[in-house]
């Protein structure tokens, strides 16, 4: 084998080095003594990154309230709500996000619970994203606190490999914004995302093309993008548990069993992912949901809960100048089974009233009193510009009035605040 020197990068002083082929790789940086070294044969060639903020909501709260620093912290709502984020101290007791609050508090009774302050998180998240966009225009946000970045081409411009830019980014975000991020650097989205998850928090993991197959092989199939609870169970039943198990099947076989997902599995289990980082990361849907303090089976009670959700969806749609032509109702029953029901509309809408009424017609068929529900949500999709929303509909004589009423209400709210005016249906 040809002599090959492995590149090394110090994550603290950003000095670059190379390992000697005959000598073992150093453990500490030869310049600053930091043990946080990145060593990988393709370190300075890889350009696709996934960046994820560590325990984002909790980190922001801890930053703003140093008293919380050494205490387990859970961000989430109410008695029956779920955990949206748990800090790493709380996670040590087994608390996970999306876990019901009562369960989390059983695991970690001394945790401090803070209600989420989305406005604050959005502001910080936006700042992080702006900094990402300074690295490359190719930023594809996945949520408020994570994104894919394609840094191909920036190495020449900045005269610095992507890895160095990313290390610098992570350390600057920690310094300036007081929160930490984990970075995954690899050759495609699938691998970058997996990499960022490995060494959280404050991680930086590099997976080279060369390592890909060995990296994936022994890991569970549930790690792959698109393999959720249901598919995982199905695969396990077929004796497919590790990613390498998938490689036994040819493409046709997987497709016959799992359709287009099978084709993806065929490629993913080999670390192949042709998806590009797309910047138009446009909103695909707008939705709002709530978990009840106590399960609800009664249609009328659910109906009342649906109105504020519809309003919230409508408010956000109007704010982002969007309208949707599909309304989707989401329910979770007392045994945690999800039900979603959709209805396509004759015209795109941004009106709370239309979203609500469509939601009710869907809810009616589900809330028959036989099942109790713990969660209710509603959303719109098939989004388009607001200009096309809610035209006068000759087959719906109330359409014009409905729009006038809501426009009037919005105007009052704009002047006097959100609670200034409301529909009578909120009064018990």
């Amino acid at each position: 084998m040809a002599e090959k020197r492995t590149p090394i990068l110090c994550r603290d002083c950003f000095s670059k080095d190379e390992s000697h082929p005959t000598v073992e790789a150093p453990v500490r940086c030869s310049h600053c003594g930091s043990p946080r070294l990145l060593v990988n044969t393709e370190l300075f060639d890889l350009t696709l990154a996934h960046i994820d903020c560590d325990a984002f909501y909790a980190a922001v709260e801890k930053r703003d309230n140093p008293d919380l620093l050494d205490k387990p912290l859970i961000i989430g709502g109410g008695k029956r709500g779920v955990v949206s984020t748990a800090c790493y101290l709380a996670r040590m007791t087994g608390v996970r996000s999306a876990m019901p609050m009562f369960k989390a508090l059983k695991l970690c009774p001394n945790a401090t619970v803070v209600k989420p302050n989305m406005e604050k998180y959005t502001a910080v998240g936006r700042e992080v994203r702006n900094r990402m966009r300074n690295l490359t225009p190719l930023v594809e946000p996945l949520s408020i606190d994570e994104a894919f970045l394609d840094l191909a081409g920036t190495e020449k411009l900045r005269e610095e490999p992507a890895a160095v830019q990313l290390a610098r980014f992570a350390s600057e975000v920690a310094e300036d914004l007081g929160i930490t991020v984990s970075v995954g650097l690899s050759h495609n989205k699938l691998m970058a995302k997996l990499a960022s998850d490995i060494d959280k928090p404050r991680g930086f993991t590099v997976i080279s093309k060369e390592e890909t197959l060995d990296f994936l092989g022994p890991r569970p199939v549930s790690l792959l993008w698109g393999v959720g609870k249901v598919l995982n169970k199905k695969l396990n039943q077929q004796g497919i548990e590790k990613i390498s198990d998938l490689r036994r099947f040819d493409q046709m076989e997987l497709m016959a069993r799992h359709g287009s997902m099978g084709q993806r599995l065929y490629h993913f289990c080999r670390g192949i992912d042709p998806r590009k980082v797309s910047i138009d990361g446009e909103t695909k849907s707008i939705s709002s949901e709530t978990t009840f303090n106590e399960d609800i089976g009664d249609f009328e009670t659910l109906k009342r809960k649906l109105w504020p959700l519809s309003e919230s969806v409508s408010r956000r749609a109007k704010k982002s100048q969007l309208s949707g032509q599909t309304v989707t109702l989401k329910l979770k029953d007392d045994s945690f089974n999800n039900r979603t029901r959709s209805q396509k509309l004759a015209h795109p809408t941004c009106l709370a009233e239309v979203i609500y009424q469509t939601g009710i017609s869907l809810l009616e068929k589900e809330a028959t009193g036989e099942t109790d529900f713990r969660l209710l949500g509603i959303g719109i999709s098939t989004l388009g510009p607001i200009e096309l929303a809610d035209p006068i509909d000759l087959a719906d004589p109330d359409s014009f009035k409905r729009r006038q009423i809501e426009t009037a209400m919005d105007k009052v709210r704009e002047k006097l605040g959100k609670e200034a005016i409301n529909k009578g249906r909120l009064i018990d």
């Binding site: 209805q343 396509k344 509309l345 004759a346 015209h347 200009e387 096309l388 035209p391 006068i392 509909d393 000759l394 087959a395 719906d396 004589p397």
Partner: protein, 374 residues
């Protein structure tokens, strides 16, 4: 069964019944036509469970009987037989096949037992009247283009017909159809006996089949029977019975603007030709054509980043204030096609509100069209 029929008469009858039969059927018997031979002749019945057509033909019956055979195949065979021939239909008791013989041609069709054929409901319907074929045609022709195909609002998938007795035209039957973008309303004088009719929504397929039957009816009176859930129309030996759409038609009168004051009179044929020309440029999806209306003149224009631009000026009779309004070109042309006279009148309010279009030679018809953003 052993009967002999005129090829032409049989073909015409089969033409009526076969179009009721869906091309794809999950229930095999619904692909068949029921052929019954009695003393007076042969009757042919086809149904899709919602719509049933029965046609009776006088012919020579050597022996009676009944059988069902594949409707489309049977029709295709008769269609290809030479004109002016006689067609003999016989059933083979052993094989159960239907034999079709004409000249030197001979066909055998598989059959299904007549007992399996869903019996068409022949029950009496409470409201009975006769309406002139011409009036009936006009109710259908001037509204059917506006019937919606949207499945979620199934109650728009037909023509709403109801009695009305407070307008300028005296007691009338009104036919209305809308898809939300345009609405068509036409009135015909109330026939004797129809005043007690319920408001009914006649489904699109029944509308199409009835319209075909009316083609050859000249101005004969057509017998119509109605109940809350069914309509029956009898034309020249053909009896068509259809379920009605079980739903509530929207209160359309509230969307017909009464106070539109901007009055524009146009010459219909030159207008539609111009719209057609200009719309060549408008994008396939929106089909938007803009109308800039000013004193004595309108400018039709279309602008599309992908296809270019077009404009055309027309002299018109208008003296109101200047107005810009956009319409879907296809909808404009659909309506223009229904206008019988030379002149059409647009009654507008503003560029965003519904516009009324009238046929100046036909007081009975009214159209409402929603503008588009342009």
């Amino acid at each position: 069964m052993d009967v002999t029929l005129e090829r032409a008469a049989l073909l015409k009858a089969l033409g009526h019944v076969q179009s009721v039969v869906e091309r794809r059927n999950t229930i095999p018997i619904l692909s068949n036509v029921l052929i019954e031979a009695g003393e007076n002749g042969v009757s042919l019945t086809a149904t899709d469970m919602d719509l049933t057509v029965v046609e009776t033909l006088a012919c020579m019956v050597l022996s009676g009987g009944a059988v069902t055979a594949p409707a489309h195949t049977f029709y295709d065979i008769v269609r290809k037989l030479p004109d002016g021939t006689q067609v003999a239909l016989t059933t083979d008791v052993e094989t159960g096949h239907l034999a079709i013989k004409s000249g030197r041609s001979h066909f055998n069709l598989p059959t299904l037992p007549k007992e399996d054929f869903p019996a068409p409901g022949a029950e009496e319907l409470p409201v009975n009247f006769e309406i002139g074929a011409g009036d009936f045609r006009s109710m259908i022709d001037k509204t059917r283009f506006a019937i919606s195909t949207e499945e979620t609002r199934y109650y728009l998938n037909g023509i709403y017909m109801h009695p009305k007795d407070d307008g300028d035209n005296g007691p009338v039957i009104r036919a209305v159809a809308t898809d939300g973008h345009r609405l068509a309303r036409v009135e015909v004088p109330m026939p004797d006996g129809a005043a007690s009719m319920p408001g009914v929504i006649v489904p699109r397929k029944a509308v199409a089949e009835v319209r075909k039957l009316l083609d050859s009816a000249g101005d004969d009176p057509i017998a119509v029977s109605l109940s809350e859930s069914k309509v029956r129309v009898s034309v020249d030996g053909v009896v068509l019975t259809s379920k009605l759409i079980d739903g509530t038609f929207p209160d359309y009168e509230r969307v017909v603007p009464a106070n539109n004051d901007k009055e524009l009179d146009i010459e219909c044929s030159s207008f539609s030709e111009a719209v057609d020309r200009v719309s060549t440029i408008s994008s396939e999806k929106s089909r938007a054509v803009k109308m800039s209306v000013q004193d004595g003149q309108i400018t039709l224009s279309a602008n599309s980043p992908d296809y270019g631009m077009a404009s055309e000026e027309l002299e018109v009779d208008y003296s109101g204030e200047t107005i810009d309004i956009g319409f879907n070109a296809r909808y404009l042309l659909d309506i223009a096609q229904q206008i019988e006279g030379e002149q059409a009148r647009f009654l507008m309010s503003d560029g965003a509100s519904p516009t009324v279009i009238l046929d100046l030679s036909d007081q009975a018809a009214l159209y409402v069209l929603m503008p588009m953003r342009v």
